[in-house]
Amino acid sequence: MSAAAFTLAEARDALKARKISSRELTEALVKAVEQARPLNAYVTETPEKAFEMAAASDARLAKGEGGALEGLPLAIKDLFCTKGVRTTAGSKILGNFVPPYESTVTQNLWNAGAVMLGKTNMDEFAMGSSNETSAHGPAFNPWRARNSNANLVPGGSSGGSAAAVAADLCLAATGTDTGGSIRQPAAVTGIVGLKPTYGRCSRWGIVAFASSLDQAGPMTKTVRDAAIMLKSMASVDTKDSTSMDVPVPDYEKLLEGGIKGLRVGIPKEYRMDGAPPEIAALWDKGAEWLKAQGAEIVEVSLPHTKYALPTYYIVAPAEASSNLARYDGVRYGHRAKGAHDITELYEKSRAEGFGAEVQRRILIGTYVLSAGYYDAYYARAQKLRTLIARDFTEAYGKCDVLLTPATPGPAFAVGDKSDDPVAMYLNDVFTVTVNLAGLPGIAVPAGLTANGLPLGLQLIGKAFDEATVLRAGLAIEEAAAFRHKPANWWRAA
């Protein structure tokens, strides 16, 4: 087995035991990244930086020192500002923006000793569920359907990170999740993706999409790895007033103990008409797995579920139109040539710099916030959000964690849904409620479709109870025994 195929925990233990050096690990991964360029998972590779960081880690490890992630090579979604390394958010409008500062989450990872391999592809400004809105072109899913050469999407918006983890192009990656952007790509690439509680990780230095929904989290090969990585990512931060001052437990230790007596809620509204039977069958199997390990299965109701997506498509564009007002061609990023006055400079720079989906959402957001429409749309959506969050509070009177499907289907072909915005939005039908309520959720690979594509299950927890989400996730992972890997078709001949 190549060192690139290590899990985070395996690599950590091998480094501690001095069975491998961070340099060797980094070499294996840098080579894997180079050979996988057809996947378009990375938009910026930083091998020199990686080797420099690996050398520093090896020096620390030799002295018996080092942090929780010492010497472990990671991929970073291109939404995190990285000092001295181009950060594009998948958009042309940021041009060759090189941040003079580091995001808090990535700084936390480097402080723990992690090594940066590069920046991963993503939907433009994290707006998309297929990675097809990226200004760098789509990233591809390492998985293909049995007997097919068609390129599939890796999900989105954290599609490059998902592809990189699934294809062993990093040990683990960061993602961000506003409506499902960690969990949905994780599910369709057969990896683990955890969206923590809103406020668990600092948003400082992450390019903003919808500030009341955005949250960073780990994308990993195993549940244990997600536990390890979240511990280092999470922190309270004076630079983000919404980051919460609550203790960050040792999630890895809390994985132990099993799920005997855990009350697992099955929300009946997630059983949707027209959903593929494979999804429902996997969901039932998941409940049986948890029951067999001692959990108690209870049916619960989340009555406002069907309103979550339309609510999201008011709230998120409204916040985005406001956040993206800063891209004006003046202080950084793309600037249109030949503008005669300042308004024309703004209008042309933004029209040239933003892609079609981002422009569509800016227009939606501007409309719902404009005079005369605010109450009908934005104010109403914020009330709906209260009702959606209340549904969860009431359900948690009867259970400790919820089990749901992660996505309405497996990965689809590139180009399949790009003509119909609402059809694309439906990919997030099972994940978006969690963002609206600020809760933690994890997607865990649980099985393959008849034609060999991965499917995931989602567990949703109470606010700041990532520990229970992870423990239940581990129970699914162990029962599913998902050991499948995609066939390596992308390696340059």
């Binding site: 041009g95 919404t242 003046v330 227009l363 109403r380 209260t386």
Partner: protein, 95 residues
Amino acid sequence: MSVDKDTVRRIARLARLAVPEEKLEPLAGELTGLFNWVEMLNEVHIEGVPAMTSVVAQKLKWREDKVTEGGAAEALMTNAPEHEATFFVVPKVVE
């Protein structure tokens, strides 16, 4: 609910996005489709429901009113599309 071409032109102006004339009509169609879908929110009774202001129960933190960082004008210029010394250059704003 139907969004017309003039409305798209108006909100594009508010959003400072140059939308070419030939794209106004297709965008109006897309937005109409989206707002028709969103219309289902009108089924829900929302009287007396408070709007969500904070997704997790917390009070916004206070901090001391003091400068923590700043004075980085030169670093900020490194990404400017056009600048002179530590000033951003823009087209003439005041006649």
